[in-house]
Symmetry: C2
Amino acid sequence: MKLGRLNHIGVATPSIADSIVFYRDVMGATTICEPFDMPDQGVKVCFVDTPGDGGTNGTQIELIEPLPGNASIAGFLERNPQGGQHHMCYEVPDIHAAKAEFEAMGKRVLGEPRIGAHGTPIFFVHPRDMGGVLTEIMETPKGDH
Amino acid sequence: MKLGRLNHIGVATPSIADSIVFYRDVMGATTICEPFDMPDQGVKVCFVDTPGDGGTNGTQIELIEPLPGNASIAGFLERNPQGGQHHMCYEVPDIHAAKAEFEAMGKRVLGEPRIGAHGTPIFFVHPRDMGGVLTEIMETPKGDH
């Protein structure tokens, strides 16, 4: 596998509405996408753009708020009531090839690839196999490059 | 303040040597800088490059290992023995202007600006004032843009 683009950093928050105010008014973000629910994954998400080098798109911040019944993000927020860094997401050209490679290396892929917040297939890899970092792998959106 | 480039994600590790093997062999990183000690800050650091959009430089991973006597990273590793996401670092054009802006907003800036791992001045802002994210602010290296 070749290291892909760092697409986004997942940041858990008890309130996307409050985090939008923070990223806009404190951090000075100018492009904050409309929040949307992903009921299958039990989360509301919102992407904040950061500027990349030379006017390109930088790594995004993905704000994540649990929907009712979501145990894993709610558990994270119990341990970190203000929220905090939750995962790192890298792009790959082919999600199934990436899954096979991680599994061949003995890494625990958490479930089958499913459609993620950018509309392309994603999977997560267990943080215990990834230096303590919950890692999301996503297929690069077509036409994005 | 205008949101700057996400320069790097700080990732704490009990062993930079082991993390280099992980980022090279598991994640497929091709550019991993030579680790170096920052004795004033009590850390050894090592930057891993990720590819940005369109061939630009992406957000780096900063691997951080505590030097003997460093209580804060050692404490982080006690809570997270494998390591994990430690901080997020954004660039600003002027470190002193940024410090004044954060302080005017009531954010706790942790100490005076000091020279960071990229050779430009940096400071940290308390995670409790930043949505649970320990945030590093660094002056963009001159000539980098």
